[in-house]
Each structure stands twice: as structure tokens, then as C-alpha cells.
Amino acid sequence: MNNLLILPIIIPLITGMFMVIIRKKINVQRVLGILAIAGTGAVSAVLISQIKASGIQVLHIGGWEAPFGVSFAADMFSALLLLTSSIVSLFCLIYAFRSIGKGRETHYFYPLFLFLLTGVNGSFLTGDLFNLFVCFEVMLISSYVLISIGGTRIQLRESIKYVLVNVLSSSLFLVAIAYLYATIGTLNFAHLSVRVAEAGQNGLLTAISLLFLIVFGLKAGLLLFFWLPGSYSAPPTAIAAIFAALLTKVGIYSIIRMFTLVFYHEPNVTHLIIGIMSALTMVLGAIGAIAYWNIKKIITYNVIVGVGFILAGLASGTPEGLTGAIYYLIHDIIVKALLFLIGGTIIAITGTANLRDISGLIQTYPYLGWMFFIAALSLAGIPPLSGFIGKVFITEGTFEAGYIWLGAIGLLTSLMVLYSVMKIFMNGFWGESYLYEENEKGKTKGLLFPIAALTALTIALGVGAEGIYAFSDLAVESLMNPSLYIEAVLGNNWVGPN
């Protein structure tokens, strides 16, 4: 029992509820928002050190023992994601101060931002399937409002599609939960894992696992990403950045959790399907990234490529592949937020998203230009930066598992990703400058700080990869041995013959 576990959910929730009361006091809301997210980050840092010292931390809500009550469990994987998402959302919030506009700020932007984080943190920590559904809904309902807040034409048009797709995928999630409850009779992850292992994962359970794959694939943008490019280019930059950084990652987290903890008995079927889906995702995403001349479209398709790449690591099913997936997931959260913030800043300066109309920005905005260059190299996985280690491990894992085609597609799409972001750099920053003081549409004042901080983070993560190896190693250990998680949640007496 560790009461700290509830804090990452409670802190943003209560702060957000308090902010609803003080709608007009924007400065108070800003300070409270920073404090709440920093507090969440501090708690997750403490959690990481506790998990490192004494294993997986568990909290049974209300003192009800594991399969009967709702339990929260934090292993190293979820704690690392918690810390990363707190840091990234802090910088997105700071970016929002300057860019989001007074109208949105007085209409509950900050509370909704914190409710979104409540849902994300809850999804990372929960140990119960239905509670995961509820946390998803908390996150999604906040995201529905955040995507449509402001009510411009494009936002209204895209948010209808976004809401419809997510309502349907939530219905499918409930269907999957109902089927699983009918066959197995429990909803606790650890207990599910024990019972699935006892029953042997027969055809019925594999079919249910594929239904879960469809549900989470819809949330994560794994092959079923048709809704994503439109939705992520509609909202303002700070919101799009937090969506790109966190929302798909929660789907990825759920896929990894389900297929390492519960449905890990038939990797020939499930993991192969995940592999094929992620290969198609990478190829289609890369084609989209290359095809467009619109900055927003290019970076949203890069989100899709990242999703495919992370799940290729899971598909390999090897410790190397999972290490890579964890490294790459952390890197991807940071670098996608960074890319969206820079892209949004370019659009704010020039007033257009069309690359053909932008040129020579490096002369007036050298810092922005070189930070974009670093972000682009990091995205493609150039050695000193953070994307490299994850790519190496995932490629190694897929080769080791015999999925050489998957690794090869991953490497090939890296090339296409590099081409797509270099296209932005070469067309947007190089060349002759048409941009003069008088026709600039916006200023970068205050916007560069969060971008610089995230750039520093991606460099630090790449250079200091050795430093987080001890943590990611623990995360992989608990993902590879479901019995560690089961023992922590249910206690020793529940562990079966495995």
C-alpha cells in the first residue's frame, strides 16, 4: 500500500475543479496549473525512486483487496511515462500562456487541460480494466472540449469526426470488456492475467484480445489512423502538441500493457498481427509525411509513423524490442510535442502552413531554425540525440525475433521521416527571405522558452541514455515477467504454477 499513487490523479483533478470556480482570474489559474503539474512531476519522480528501491508500488483503493476493489499499480514503465508526460505537459502549458488567447483562457482552458492530464495519469496508473475505460473517458471528454474550444469552422468540422470515432471506439471497448467479463469473470489486470494463464489462451480469448487491439489501435492511431491527421491539425498549437504527445501514447501504453500482461500466450497470432499493422502504419504514415506541403499535415503524419515504430518493438516480443519501445516512447512524447510547438510557431510567424509560401526564416529566426534542425535529426534518430537508442534497440529486437522485414521497414521509413522534416527545414528556413518586419504575422516572444527546454531535454536524453538504462531495464523486467506484477497486486498466494 502506497498512498502516493493516488496523487498524480488527485492533484490535477482537484486543482482543475478549483479553477472552474475562479474562471476570470487567469493569472491565478496559470500559477495553479504550473504548481499542479510540477507537483505531479515531483510525485512521479518520488515514485520512480521508490519503485527502484522496492519494486512495484500498489494501492488498493478503500482498503479492498485486489481482485474485489479497484487497485492502482505503478511499475517502472508507467512511472517513467508519468514523469515524461508531466514534464512535457508543463512546457506545453507554458507555451499556451502566450499563444492560446484570452477568449479560450476565460472559457475553462486550464481546468480542461488539467482534467486531460487526470485522465492520462489515471490510465497510466490503473490496475483495473473498467477503471481504464473510465480514465480513457475522462481524457477523451476533456479532449473533445479542447479540440472544439474556440469554435472556429475547421475545429467544429473536425471535432465532429473526432467525437464520433471516439464514441464508437469507446462502445467497442465496452463490448470487449463485456466479452472478457463473460469468459473470465474478473476485471483486475493481475487477476485477468492469472485466469487467462489458467484457462490457456484459446481461440475465444485470442479473438477478444484482437477486439482490444482494434479498440486501442483506434485510440493510438495504429493502422486505424484515418481520423488523426484531420483532428490534430484543427486545434491551436498548444492543444495539438499535448494531443500529439500524450493521447496516442495512452493507446500505445494500453496495447503494451494488455499484450505483455494478459494476452501474451499466443504471440504467433497476436504479436504477428501487431507487427503487420505497425508495418502498414509506418509505410502509410511515411507516405503521408512525404506527400504534403502543409507543415501541420507533415508533422501529424510523423505522429503516425512513430506509433507504428514503437509497436514494432512490442511485436518483436524480445527484451531488446521492449527496451527500444520504452526508450522510443519517452523520446517520442518529448519530440512530438517539440515538433508541434515549433511547427505552430512557424505558422504563427508566417501566417501560413503552406511550405511553398515560406522561405528564409533562418535569417530572422536563427534559434528557432537550429532548434528545428535538432528536433528533425532527433526524430529521424541521428546518433547523439534521443531517437537513436530506441531505434537501435527496436531494430535489434525485430531482427532477433526473425521479423527482418519489420526492422527493414522501420529503417526505410526513418529515411522518409528525415526527408519529410528536412523538407520543412530546407524550404522553410533556407533560401531567400521574403519576410520583413512589417509583414510578420506574430512574434515569438515567450514562445521560444518551452521550445528551447524541450530541445535541451531531447539532447540530454540522447547523451544521457546510459543514465536511464537502469530504469528502463527495470521496466522491461516487469513487462517481460507478468508474475512480478501479479505478485505485487495480488500477493504471493495467488500466483499459479507459472
Binding site: 473533445y144 469554435g151 469552422r153 468540422r157 465496452l174 463473460a182
Partner: protein
């Protein structure tokens, strides 16, 4: 009994899917609402439809129906209620601003 309800759920899913694939925004919302009815019935059916008293200890029966699916459905109903209300208001606003409720006309790039 479970078979009968399963067939009903299947019919509801069919109707919902058909409605969601239509062009009119209001039909789409009705379709998603019907699907969520089907889902709630499905949770109830999957919990088992054995006869037994309502899950109240004061009733003094010896067997009770499974209380867990009922709690799940109650949660799902409230969540779906909130989302449907939001979705209806969103489509009303979209109708006001975009001037159409035809999803075919909401495509393209002209509003960007």
C-alpha cells in the same frame, strides 16, 4: 434467454451501424446512441441472465443476480449521456456555423 437478447443486440448494432453510415448528422448521433443501448444490454447479458433476487441484502433471498455488470452499466450510461449531450450541442453549433448538417459537405480543405 441469452440467445434471444443476443439476437436483439445484434439487430440494434445493425441499425446503429446503418444510421452512422448515413449522411445526416442527427441520424449519426441517433445511431451512436442506439449502439450504446446495445452495448449496455450486452454487458447485462454477458453477466448472465440467471434468475435471482435484485442485489439488495434486505430482500432476504438466497440467490442474487450479479451486481457487478449493473454497476458497470450505470457508469457507462452516465458517461454516454454526457457525451451524447455534448455531441448534440456540438452538431447544433456546427449546423449554425457551417450551415449544413450533411457530412458530405463537411469535407475538403476550404475552411482551413
Amino acid at each position: 434467454m441469452e440467445t434471444l437478447i443476443s439476437v436483439l443486440i445484434g439487430i440494434l448494432f445493425t441499425i446503429g451501424t446503418y444510421l452512422i453510415l448515413s449522411k445526416n448528422l442527427l441520424r449519426i448521433i441517433l445511431g451512436s446512441s442506439i449502439i450504446s443501448h446495445a452495448v449496455n444490454l450486452l454487458i447485462l447479458t454477458m453477466g448472465g441472465l440467471k434468475t435471482g433476487g435484485p442485489p439488495l441484502l434486505g430482500m432476504g433471498g438466497t440467490t442474487f443476480t450479479d451486481p457487478l455488470p449493473q454497476a458497470l452499466i450505470l457508469t457507462a450510461i452516465v458517461i454516454n449521456f454526457g457525451i451524447t449531450a455534448f455531441f448534440l450541442v456540438l452538431s447544433y453549433r456546427a449546423y449554425k456555423v457551417l450551415g449544413t448538417d450533411d457530412t458530405k459537405q463537411m469535407r475538403g480543405n476550404e475552411n482551413e
